[in-house]
């Protein structure tokens, strides 16, 4: 028997959904509120905080103390660079797994994913030493390499699920029409997979933008992205809530805005292949 959707049930579900949504969003909201308070007001009780005066002084100090745009630019280069290089490697890899699978393809996919289950700190020392010896520490190039490698399994997996949905007959038709493997990838597969590639691109830019472990450990000043910019406000002298909040707001704003505009693509990307 179909469940009856009564108005009361609808109301309860709606209220619950709003509560969960607010709970998830609340920390971000609180950071934004704190960023507009003075350092003194920011450490008061929540009710006093809301009642206190609004000010831009934290933003002014943050802007004075550190170069936001340099960090911003580093974040852009690192996240875009690692995602694009990742895609260049992952498209042929996912093509092979989706259209010419071997006996071990599933195992390889699982193995690739399993690398994501390893705690990154487990390989911090070797990677740090390799970076030091190759002179890659505190370089954007080095970070692009690390983030490419870290996100590659996810990129391959996402593209693999998309490519699986493309009928093999169309690629066979291209082969019959005289397309070489390169032309098949460039003229047929990639354009057909554009929606999938777009959401993979978006999701990976976000993942790379937010990645903090490697960016914090492998950079000092020159290549430090926005994650390091935030972290620099939790200093040994103590936490400066208002300034930390202002820095955080500035760091997450670009990606939040991008996420807002590409919501539809992202949701499609994340749920793709879930319903068959």
């Amino acid at each position: 028997m179909a469940r009856r959707v009564t108005n009361r049930r609808k109301a309860v579900v709606t209220v619950l959904a709003w509560l969960v949504g607010l709970a998830i969003f609340f920390p971000i909201l609180w950071i934004v509120i704190l960023s507009f308070k003075s350092e003194g007001d920011a450490i008061k009780t929540p009710f006093e905080v809301l009642g206190s005066a609004w000010t831009f002084e934290s933003y002014a100090t943050v802007q004075e103390r550190s170069n936001y745009f340099r960090h911003f630019w580093n974040s852009v280069v690192i996240s875009l660079g690692s995602t694009l290089i990742g895609l260049l490697i992952a498209i042929p890899a996912a093509w092979a797994m989706a259209f010419v699978p071997g006996k071990r393809t599933k195992d390889v996919l699982m193995w690739m994913l399993s690398t994501k289950m390893l705690p990154p700190v487990g390989v911090l020392v070797p990677i740090y030493l390799i970076f030091r010896n190759l002179g890659l520490l505190d370089t954007r190039f080095g970070l692009v390499i690390v983030l490419t490698l870290i996100n590659l399994p996810i990129i391959v997996w996402m593209l693999y699920t998309y490519f699986k949905e493309i009928p093999g007959e169309i690629l066979e038709a291209a082969r019959m029409d005289g397309a070489s493997l390169k032309n098949e990838l460039i003229h047929v597969l990639t354009p057909m997979a554009v929606p999938g590639i777009a959401s993979t691109l978006l999701l990976n830019i976000i993942l790379a933008w937010n990645e903090a472990f490697w960016t914090l450990n492998l950079t000092a000043a020159k290549a430090a992205p926005l994650t390091a910019f935030i972290a620099s406000y939790s200093s040994p002298e103590g936490l400066f809530y208002a300034k930390l909040s202002a820095a955080s707001t500035m760091a997450i704003a670009p990606i939040l805005i991008m996420g807002w505009f590409s919501q539809k693509q992202l949701v499609r990307g994340l749920t793709f292949g879930a319903v068959k």
Binding site: I170, E172, A173, R175, M176, G178, P191
Partner: protein, 334 residues
């Protein structure tokens, strides 16, 4: 030119042997139909010729040249798929142009051929549409257009009409036959529909479990099927196969008589039975006759559309002795 020779070709998928050693010659300009029940290996055979599957052993020659290890693109064959397999992100024009673009043909020549193909296939008004905006029949014509512009040495059709509705299927059948008459290029056509096979083919290859059961013209197969399988598969409605005492009278294990070679009468005849279902097609009526004492299966008989028979009527049947098919215990023509 488009002479294709298969020499002891086999195909196995892992342990499963789909095509046992198979020899076949397809002559230049012939319209050859591979027909058989699903799973008989007809599509696999076509894909082997196309180069989309690798042969396990044996040799495929196209115009005398060994093509066994050639990639599909090098074989000079064009294929029309059951699902049409159009490029959804390209306009009809670009779809048709794709093989020529891949061959690096000059743009003028490409345009010229696109216009010509579009005109002959009634696609001129649709050249700038995407495949998603076309009907099934139009998509099929685009797929054919994409195949003809390359001027291939042979066309391969893999059940191209199965996704169309019945009326359109008849139309497209005629169009493909006309195309063959106009181009005189070799065509290999795969279908499970024996009506398509009968109406289109110069030569029919009947397949079962990867084996060729018989090769011949449609009328050869109709008049002298080499075994019971071909006898039952070719012809619509199916041939009546009678075993037991009645067959023994003719000194064989099985006799076959087509529905159109049985004379029906309400008064007298060799066999008698009761009319079950009567299918009225207008010009003809097909009667399914039960309780005839010749076996379990009802006998099918074709009578004139005007014959006044109804369910439950008593009816007498007389086979035309000269049209009787005789098969031995192995099912082979005796």
């Amino acid at each position: 030119m488009g002479r294709i020779t298969l020499d002891k070709v086999t195909k196995s998928f892992g342990e499963v042997n789909v095509i046992p050693p198979l020899d076949l010659t397809i002559n230049d300009g012939e319209f050859v139909v591979f027909v058989g029940p699903s799973g008989c290996g007809k599509s696999t055979l076509l894909r082997l010729i196309a180069g989309l599957e690798d042969v396990t052993s044996g040799q495929i020659r196209i115009d005398g040249e060994d093509a066994t290890d050639m990639p599909p693109a090098k074989r000079g064959l064009a294929m029309v798929f059951q699902s049409y397999a159009l490029y959804p992100h390209m306009s009809v024009r670009k779809n048709i142009a794709f093989p020529m673009k891949m061959a690096g043909m000059p743009q003028d020549e490409q345009n010229h051929r696109i216009e010509a193909a579009a005109k002959s296939l009634n696609l001129t008004d649709y050249l700038d549409r995407r495949p998603g905006q076309l009907s099934g029949g139009q998509r099929q014509r685009v797929a054919i257009g994409r195949a003809i512009v390359r001027e291939p040495s042979a066309f391969l059709f893999d059940e191209p009409l199965s996704n169309l509705d019945a009326a359109l299927r008849v139309n497209m059948r005629l169009e493909i036959s006309e195309l063959h008459n106009a181009l005189k290029t070799t065509m290999i056509y795969v279908t499970h529909d024996q009506v398509e096979a009968m109406t289109m083919a110069d030569k029919i290859v009947v397949l079962r479990a990867g084996n060729i059961e018989q090769v011949g013209s449609p009328l050869d197969l109709y008049h002298s099927p080499q075994n019971e399988f071909v006898a039952g598969f070719i012809g619509s409605p199916k041939m009546n196969l009678i075993r037991g005492a009645e067959a023994a009278k003719h000194g064989v294990a099985t006799i076959g008589i087509r529905p159109e070679h049985l004379a029906a009468s309400t008064e007298s005849g060799l066999w008698q039975g009761t009319v079950g279902v009567a299918e009225h097609l207008g010009s003809d009526t097909f009667l399914h006759v039960h309780d005839h004492g010749l076996g379990e299966e009802p006998l099918t008989v074709r009578v004139d559309g005007e014959m006044p028979v109804r369910h439950g009527d008593r009816i007498f049947l007389t086979p035309d002795e000269s049209k009787l098919h005789r098969f031995d215990k192995q099912g082979l023509r005796a």
